[in-house]
């Protein structure tokens, strides 16, 4: 006879099932990237995923810890990193970014749940800083069909003249997974519908950016649809480990991301600020968590 403490039932949810849902939600954006930027984009994504998984495996082996490859979180990191890279980047960059993401940002701090910085963002920022020109060489949509070796394009954040329809469908220059707003919104709504994420952080992030842009006399719709905002808001500002736990905390976090993104876009030397804003807010997460503790029902005094 088994004897165990209650409860004796479980929701039958697991970390790997959650990660699988995130992977499913990322698929529209990845497929859109594949269509818009061709086989090389698919190769880049695959390379990032493979390097992340392998790196996770090796790290856990070296640290003599239980292997966590099967929880699929490394696959998510790989996809997110790949989605944040311009197509046709040196494959070596994919590998370096993956190692930075998994080995440095994640495993060095103890693995899943323990890391303070979003691994994919950290990987992207390492690459941005070390390979600036590679990271800002964008290709035109469907360049691979045009036969010309490399048709470079500027991102809509620089040109500021892309049509809404192009932004929506993703037929503009940009990173592999960030251009197609339709696919990203679809993925984000899916994640919220299956209750993997709550919309607090994305709503606050997108809302704040749009509002500030409007106040500054810009075009809020354009600001939301262009650059990495939607990818960041739905998939990276909602990362479990590196964002606050409570709804209030998530709102604060999202609003902070929006503010910094707007500031960098408006006044910074770098056209896009989504990654930096999320990384910065990641650093503040423990403090936001402290600030936004819940008051238990029936507690006699406030928790300090």
């Amino acid at each position: 006879m088994n004897v165990s403490p209650s409860p004796h039932m479980h929701d039958n949810i697991s970390t790997s099932k959650i990660m699988l849902q995130v992977i499913i939600a990322l698929m529209p954006a990845c497929i859109a990237g594949g269509i818009i930027f061709g086989p090389t984009a698919v190769f880049d994504l695959a390379l990032c995923v493979a390097s992340c998984v392998l790196c996770e495996y090796i790290c856990r082996r070296l640290m003599k810890k239980s292997n966590t490859v099967s929880d699929l979180s490394a696959v998510v990191t790989g996809l997110l990193l790949g989605a944040n890279l311009p197509v046709g980047i040196d494959p070596l960059c994919c590998v370096i970014g993956s190692v930075a993401a998994i080995a440095v940002a994640k495993q060095l701090f103890g693995g899943i749940g323990q890391n303070f910085a979003n691994p994919a963002i950290f990987g992207r920022i390492v690459l941005t800083v070390s390979f600036a020109s590679q990271m800002t060489t964008w290709r035109e949509p469907f360049y691979y069909k045009k036969g010309v070796d490399a048709v470079t394009a500027a991102t809509p954040l620089i040109t500021k003249n892309a049509a809404y329809s192009d932004l929506f469908l993703g037929t503009t220059g940009g990173c592999i997974g960030e251009t197609c707003a339709a696919a990203l919104i679809l993925g984000g709504v899916y994640l919220a519908a299956v209750k993997i994420i709550t919309l607090h952080a994305p709503a606050a992030f997108i809302g704040t950016t749009a509002l500030l842009t409007l106040l500054a006399g810009g075009d809020p719709v354009y600001a939301v649809l262009s650059g990495g905002l939607l990818l960041g808001a739905f998939f990276m500002a909602t990362d479990y480990s590196t964002a606050p736990i409570t709804g209030k905390g998530k709102l604060l976090f999202g609003a902070g991301c929006g503010l910094i993104t707007f500031a960098i876009r408006q006044w910074g030397s770098y056209p896009e600020g989504v990654s930096f804003s999320i990384l910065f807010m990641n650093l503040l997460t423990p403090y936001i968590d402290r600030l936004c503790v819940l008051k238990p029902i029936g507690a006699k005094e406030e928790r300090q």
Partner: protein
Amino acid sequence: MKVIGGIRLPHKKAAAEVPTSEIPLPKRLTVPMLMSMGKPCTPAVKKGDRVTVGMRIGDPVQEGLCVPVHSPASGTAEDITDFRLADGNTCKAVVIRTDGLQETFHGIRPPVIQNREDFIRAVRESGCTGLGGAGFPTYAKLSFDSKKTPVDTLIINGAECEPYIVSDYREFMENGSDILFGIRTVMDKLEIGRCIIGIEDNKPAAISLMKKIIGSDKSIAVKALPSRYPQGAEKVLILSLTGRIVKEGELPAHCGVIVMNASTVGFLGRYFKNGMPLVQRRITLDGNCVNNPGNFFVPLGTCVSDLMGLCGAEGYEEAFYGGPMMGVSLYDIRQPVTKLNNGITFFKKIHSVQTTACIRCGRCVRACPVKLMPLDLESAYDKKDTKELKRLKAGLCINCGCCTYVCPAGRRLAEKNQLAKQMLAKL
């Protein structure tokens, strides 16, 4: 109506429409001297004594919470043994060899109640404890000090939010008028002005039946509650129905409320009419490996092994007193049914959950009906950080198990909280 956190559970109430039936009288009953919260009774019979139905076989001790124990059958007190309780402590138990005559004790008559004291004494004499599961002696609950903590609302708990269990529902369906009589007596004797019966909205038949039975009485209301676990937890129920909050370390009476379980008040209704103390109760037998789920009137002290044949439990690996969310595992299938058990659930493990690192998904936080932070409580407990445990209000945890249920990392959060509470209690 206030919204609780909590979770949606599969209801699995397969026994809901199965009328309650008697079980064949077992040959032997093992009646523990402690079947409630509080202290064990001292056996009032010796080995070889003849006992009859409703005869007192356990005398309550003078000091502390304690209710008498009565014989569920006629026969012979075959032995007085040591009995191991679920929490590891021991008490005495009277083993009765039944004679099948079910002769009623000659002293059984309806209690004569003139005043409040008589009423409390009668309730204590009935051996009544909360039949919902926690087993708080009813007389103690009802003897609140109406000067210090005036009570204006009697709440009848008919939420029954645990999967499988339907014994309260059957009480509504089969003994609705007993419930009403019990409610009226309690309201009258304790001068409580209003009563709210809370029933989850997945039991519409019970809601409409009770409304019909109550008729035009404005002081008793039936309210439908959202079917969300743990709606039946006392504090959650009070919040849902009255918007009042029971503060830490306080009793419901402090916010003017008394909560009684539907089966408890139904039993009291019958007891006030016929004087038969608590010697049997209705339980649901169900589970994920049970072929014929059903409801039965079971004499207290019946071994669970005597019940298995009635419901066809096949290949079970675990059995619990109560439902699968808060139920306590049986360590031996020969353990008896007590006043605390509203059901026995037989379980086969469907999926095993591996424990991995917390991914900070926040599910446990969203699920907690008390708004605790189970993930933080767990790490504070692991660090043995009692200061942090107090800051996080570990003491407010109601052990509902929602946090463990939803955790994708398979962390045993509710269990850790129980350990944390024990650690704090030892300080």
